[in-house]
């Protein structure tokens, strides 16, 4: 199983060296991988049907509890088959659709990567492993959306999609870690056993919030839905595969998967119903105003995703079964419609439905595929869509109390709109009169129309004979969500009941709507007037504000003035100091055991202070230099008084050299200008004094602390006996702590070399780096 999951990954890497051979006729071979995998997963059907699960374990990062744990149950199987099945068709379709494209190999590479990631998502038992694959799907989607990377809109859409899905991913990650942390491990199967603890934990709400954000962003729920229409910039096979059939369902899958762990509470239910409900109505409504084929399909996809969230939110056995069926229903008809749209786009060069009509005359098999898919989406009897819709209404009608009416009403409304949208996309281009300019169109390669046709036909086949799949796919899938046996075979005919009535209403009203409402640029423009209320616009606006704030913040903070930076550092230090002093105990001041004061020391100190005063206030550079050297010489005297002859010597010679240096450098410079105004100077003075005070306070505290003389005692005792020197300071410098000195002269050497290079090196203009 590991191989199965990683096969796509491996193959996509193989594309790097081998890709160029696959660009030509051999492209069809690429489909061998999904077909093989489909067969592989199909081979598990009996096992799953028998109620068994398959588990695989391989250690990876055991210290994080992240291992390659794969778990195959009904839900995983449904998705795996969906991924590999539709994947096979999309791969085949692509071979023809992008025939001869110079990046075809890359395209397949991304697709393989995506497929592997998606399989990883649905098979992982470990939530973090799931998350890893989850993010990989976003990345492959990013590359696929931006596949036409010379198109600015493509690039923009891919970034938006990536940011939203991965941004949500970060929240999901925290949520999953929180779950794992609380339940003690990251295995979903294990978590199910601790689900009661999780649900009763104080952080349950936070977990839900984080997981929902992750799922909603991925599955394009309101208000994060807007990345999906943008994602339609991707080549059509991608739209069909990722953005309707599989990837966007990852969020649905996650909710379904976590339903037994986190579900069953009001906190779980209502947000899902509300968000799913809003999403489905909002985008179904939007879909019928679009004129671009893929746009219509995108909005109707969002609506379908909303519907799925909505169903999972309801959380009853019926609704979960409905969800699992609707996943496949939608995948079949929507993929088919997308692929059809792709053919139309490919052949006519436009996707504008106001310009498309009568294409059945030139693209007969395609029109069959489109119409069948549209009918399935409409839920006409004997299509798979009919069964799906029945189950939906069944599910909404089985809810309790006031909810029943509201939920059913919403479902009906959505379905009516979706029906209309489906007709717009699947029927309208083929009916009516063929415009003259489309007369020259020929039926394309068989792969192009074969794939949608097969999907559409499957929709009819399953619609007529649901027993083919119900027991092997949907019941196990729903059981995995519901965590108890569900055995309700799908029926084509339920008899005359409310559900049928609702289906009828849906059909009639929807068809009427389709007939009455003609899509036009004008109506699109009309609805776009309200764009400023749309989440896309609002979030975009927020992003612009964020950018403005960033510019302001960064510009204010990092304003180019070194002195301001330094001021901030000093103020920070002083503030921290003040805070800590405020928190901490009193400052102890004791003046015992201090040495007596003699006049000459005080005089030297006084001169020092006065010299500091001069350096700070003088307006002539030379005066400053003179005062600085006085300062150094006085320090030198202090060193003499306090028994540091070596220090005094060094201080003195270095100070003199510094003077020489200053003198060599300064003599051309103009005098100081007093730039700062009085207020600035006072402010700086206050800050500087505070800093000095702070140092003084610490110093006083330290002086109260008795010092441990163990080390200096050791030096004194051993300087002569062991290190053969009498000048202990020098012995320290060349022996006890000789390494310091070694690197101190390195510093000096570096400085000297630096001076040479700084003054002598003149780069040529051609020498850039």
């Amino acid at each position: 199983m590991l191989l199965a999951v990683l096969a796509g990954l491996i193959v996509s890497i193989l594309y790097i060296p081998l890709g160029k051979y696959l660009r030509g006729r051999l492209a069809v071979l690429a489909a061998l991988l999904p077909i093989g995998l489909f067969a592989y997963f199909a081979s598990f059907i009996p096992t799953i049907q028998a109620g068994q699960h398959v588990h695989f374990h391989h250690p990876w990062v055991p210290s994080l509890g992240i291992n390659l744990d794969f778990h195959l149950d009904g839900l995983s199987l449904l998705f795996s088959l969906l991924i590999t099945g539709i994947g096979s068709l999309v791969f085949l379709y692509t071979a023809s659709y992008l025939k001869g494209h110079r990046y075809l190999d890359k395209f397949y590479g991304y697709l393989c990567l995506f497929m592997a990631s998606m399989l990883g998502v649905v098979l992982s038992d470990n939530v973090l492993l799931l998350f890893i694959f989850w993010e990989l799907t976003s990345i492959s989607s990013f590359f696929l959306i931006g596949f036409n990377n010379d198109d600015a809109a493509s690039r923009k859409s891919s970034i938006i999609a990536l940011c939203i899905t991965m941004g949500g991913g970060f929240f999901l990650m925290v949520g999953l870690i929180l779950m794992g942390h609380l339940s003690g491990n990251y295995s979903i199967q294990e978590m199910m056993s601790t689900n009661e603890y999780l649900k009763s934990h104080a952080l349950y709400g936070l977990i839900l919030l984080l997981v929902f954000i992750g799922a909603f962003t991925k599955s394009a729920q309101f208000p994060f839905h807007f990345w999906l229409p943008g994602a339609m910039r991707a080549p059509t096979p991608v739209s069909a595969y990722l953005h309707s059939a599989t990837m966007v369902k990852a969020g649905i899958y996650l909710l379904a998967r976590l339903q037994p762990v986190l579900g069953g509470t009001d906190y779980w239910m209502y947000p899902l119903i509300v968000v799913g409900g809003i999403t489905m109505v909002y985008s179904a409504f939007h879909s019928i105003f679009r004129t671009d084929l893929k746009s219509i399909l995108a909005y109707s996809t969002i609506a379908a995703l909303g519907m799925l969230v909505f169903l999972i939110g309801i959380g009853t056995a019926e609704s979960l079964l409905a969800a699992s069926v609707f996943i496949l229903v939608h995948a079949l008809y929507k993929a088919s419609l997308f692929l059809t749209a792709g053919v139309i786009d490919h052949e006519t060069g436009t996707r504008d439905i106001t310009q498309l009509s009568g294409l059945r005359k030139v693209l007969m098999p395609v029109s069959i595929a489109g119409i069948l898919a549209a009918l399935s989406s409409a839920g006409l009897p004997f299509t798979f869509g009919f069964i799906g819709k029945d189950l939906i209404y069944e599910a909404t009608l089985h809810t309790a109390g006031i909810l029943t009416a509201i939920l059913t009403g919403l479902a009906v409304l959505t379905n009516i709109l979706l029906l209309c949208a489906g007709f717009l996309a699947g029927i309208r281009p083929f009916t009516g009169k063929l415009p003259d300019r489309f007369h020259g169109i020929h039926l394309p390669h068989g792969l192009l129309w074969g794939a949608p046709l097969l999907l559409a036909v499957l929709g009819v086949v399953f619609g007529c004979a649901p027993f083919l799949v119900d027991g092997i796919l949907f019941n196990p899938a729903a059981e995995a969500m519901y965590q108890s046996a569900i055995d309700s075979p799908l029926k084509i005919w339920h008899g005359f009941n409310l559900v049928l009535l609702l289906s009828g209403i849906t059909l009639v009203v929807g068809t009427l709507l389709y007939v009455v409402r003609k899509p036009s640029a004008a109506s699109l423009a009309a609805i776009e007037r309200y764009n400023y209320l749309s989440p896309k616009h609002i979030i975009g606006q927020l992003a612009r504000y964020a950018r403005k704030i960033s510019i302001y913040y960064t510009g204010t903070l990092h304003n180019g003035y070194l002195r301001v930076y330094l001021l901030r550092i000093i103020i920070t230090t002083v503030l921290l100091f003040a805070i800590r002093l405020f928190m901490g105990g009193p400052i102890r001041l004791s003046i015992d055991h201090l040495s007596p004061i003699s006049i000459y020391e005080v005089v030297v100190a006084a001169i020092l202070i006065a010299a500091v005063y001069i350096t700070v206030t003088a307006s002539s550079r030379l005066t400053v230099v003179v005062a600085t050297s006085v300062l150094g010489y006085c320090v030198c005297l202090l060193f003499v008084f306090y028994s540091a002859p070596d220090l005094a010597m060094t201080q003195f010679s270095i100070d003199t050299l510094t003077v020489v240096l200053f003198v060599l450098v300064l003599f051309r410079l103009p005098p100081f200008l007093n730039f700062a105004n009085r207020r600035t100077r006072i402010r700086d003075g206050v800050v500087a004094s505070a800093f000095g005070l702070m140092i003084a306070l610490v110093a006083i505290q330290v002086l109260n602390q008795p010092i441990d003389t163990e080390v200096s005692q050791f030096y004194g005792d051993n300087a002569y006996t062991l290190a053969k020197g009498r000048n202990v300071v020098n012995v320290i410098l060349v022996d006890f702590r000789g390494l310091d000195t070694m690197f101190e002269i390195v510093v000096l050497s570096i400085a000297a070399i630096g001076v040479v290079s700084l003054l002598k090196l003149r780069l040529k203009a051609s020498e850039k780096e």
């Binding site: 003699s598 006049i599 000459y600 005089v603 030297v604 006084a606 001169i607 006065a610 010299a611 001069i614 002539s620 030379l622 005066t623 003179v626 005062a627 050297s629 006085v630 010489y633 030198c636 005297l637 003499v640 008084f641 002859p645 005094a648 010597m649 003195f652 010679s653 003199t656 003077v659 020489v660 003198v663 060599l664 300064l666 003599f667 051309r668």
Partner: protein, 90 residues
């Protein structure tokens, strides 16, 4: 009164006062050359202070410091002259 304490209580204070006076000149200027000679004088007094201190403490080690001062102090005066003259010429 021993020599040590004589130096400590009489000589060093006198020298300290001298230091102060010179520093006042350094502070007042008015020209840069005044400051330079004040600095030079400060160092010479410094040499005396160190020598006196060395006697008063009985530690000949400090004479080494005085030696360094004598050897080097000269350089800073030269540097200042060099600088001031060069600047005056430009």
């Amino acid at each position: 009164m021993t020599l040590d304490s004589y130096i400590d209580y009489v000589i060093l204070p006198i020298l300290a006062i001298a230091l102060l006076l010179v520093f006042v000149r350094l502070f007042k200027g008015p020209t840069i050359v005044d400051r330079v000679i004040a600095l030079d004088l400060l160092i010479t007094i410094g040499i005396s202070v160190i020598t006196a201190y060395s006697i008063s403490r009985g530690k000949s080690t400090f004479i080494d410091v005085a030696m360094i001062l004598a050897l080097i102090a000269f350089l800073s005066t030269i540097a200042f002259s060099y600088y001031i003259e060069k600047r005056g010429r430009k």
